[in-house]
Symmetry: C2
Subunit: 356 residues, 2 copies
Amino acid sequence: MTFLKGLLRYPIIQAPMAGGPSCPKLASVVSEAGGMGFLAAGYKTNDEMEKEISEVKQLTKKLFGVNVFVPQKSEIDSPVLSSYIDTLESEADRLGVSLGEAVWDDDCYDEKIEYLLANPVPVVSFTFGCPPNGLISKLQQRGSFVIITVTTPEEAEIAFKVEPDALCLQGVEAGGHRGSFDDKDVPGKDLSLLSLLSAVRSNIDLPLIVAGGIMHGRDIAAVIMSGAAVAQIGTAFLRCTESGTNQFQKSAMADPSFQHTMFTRAFSGRKARGIANRFMLEYNSAPSAYPQINNVTKPLRREAAARGDTGTMNMWAGQGFRFAEELPAAKIVERLVRECRQAFDEIKTKTHESII
Amino acid sequence: MTFLKGLLRYPIIQAPMAGGPSCPKLASVVSEAGGMGFLAAGYKTNDEMEKEISEVKQLTKKLFGVNVFVPQKSEIDSPVLSSYIDTLESEADRLGVSLGEAVWDDDCYDEKIEYLLANPVPVVSFTFGCPPNGLISKLQQRGSFVIITVTTPEEAEIAFKVEPDALCLQGVEAGGHRGSFDDKDVPGKDLSLLSLLSAVRSNIDLPLIVAGGIMHGRDIAAVIMSGAAVAQIGTAFLRCTESGTNQFQKSAMADPSFQHTMFTRAFSGRKARGIANRFMLEYNSAPSAYPQINNVTKPLRREAAARGDTGTMNMWAGQGFRFAEELPAAKIVERLVRECRQAFDEIKTKTHESII
């Protein structure tokens, strides 16, 4: 907990949001404001990650984190994948692009790890899997605080065994990809933040960072009440001045014609939550095949995002996206802290009898 | 809020769980213990409901509630329904029963309402729909406190307009049927309790009763922190001494071979959360057709429950069912209150700086 008490002023971590939003500017501003900023190494080359780390280091001397996707080999149903790709051809034609290749890749994992071992950053977090204890301890020996993202009590047990410094519990409310160790559709993978926290807090003696649907300060107060050490917040920063979120997505988030989020595999072949749009509804039976489908749709997504075709682009966001504000990130941190303090103050001034 | 402050000692409502668990004994014990017990009129005849109300009145002079299912006519895809029923024939054969008729019914709604108007009970709550303002105000004129169950901000807006005394927000964590106004699969119907509360609390000036995944007292503290007036708790009472839960379900809830919950339409034709078992996994593509499928599977469910065929019976439960204890209900209320107080005390003794 020294991580928390000594280094973080507020129990607020800006979630690593891959694909643009979590840029060096955003990360540094949140860290400067008393929370902790995060870079998302996912989808980036090692050079791109390195460049972002250098930028953050120039912008702040405070704590920041780098999130890395753990690669995994999963069984792909090739005929099903092929026929899904076939259905996307008309989308590609319409946008005048060619679909990408349905190839597996490791997201430059080995290179990134090599770099992070040679050039330690304050915090490293992992998503999509559990690295071996050997790697965790090496990172720790080099001074990094290591976090593993989990979505079920079973994953928490596995992660606990490799001795990270903290776990990040991702509830089903969270935007973007599920941080699950695999993409299988089996029961028990739909735990909300409170259910997950409730199931994990009594068994796992580690600081618990919690993510999913936290848009207001009183929700931070609520999760702390429920046993969390820190709230990890992504969606609330998506529209902020410093975020690298696509401008059309920022507008869509305030557009009444976009009301809801849903899970989809249509864009990447892995379950992710985003703002429900035509593409997600039309391809809602997309198969599990990550990162193959992600590579296939890349030109499609890029072109749709450039054109502002909000019916076709991926707009990752959590359940509370309606409350994301178009403000400087520091103002958002300030608001969250103020609201959280108010919520605690309300409780402190009440007598026992009037609460319970 | 007089409901809360004047009449309820603790902000704990025992959820109405239709199909057995919420019996008069359970309801009265929870009310006597300082919470509020609830009868579930769903699936019962008017006479059965009347009998249960009389029993509760003999057992306690304290506040209690009666929950009523609002009937709705929805479009049924008859060929799909027929072919689903065909697949159930082998289950019926195996258990030596005949499937029920795929008929619609109104769950004796009109009779129940007539009775409740003529013989007012302290609290009436509605699930599966929003009764008209005329009915709400008649119930209120007769002294009943009226609650409407909602699962989305849109339903909350609709319910607010008919002027009930409180809303019950049901998060996606909750066991049993989704209380949604319809059973359509559209985006935005999967809000967790915290996300739903966060979306509703600023717009709706009514006491908010919240349900879904609340198994421990610190979760009650958390939802109060997040703006709830009262926690509605079902699953935590499922295994208690006084509940009418099927004995085989009570055992299954502590059996390590049952680990997870999932949503299913297999038993009733309406989305409901229960402990994942063979039947749910095998018929996971069951169509939406409520109450037709519920009537079809009734003999099947009854026989499976009598035999203790836990692979075939429906075992409704919320995400936190592992924490349900086999204790007298009063002990559970006592524990919840103690834990909630502890959570608030921890906060009160901390300084600002050490919290945030």
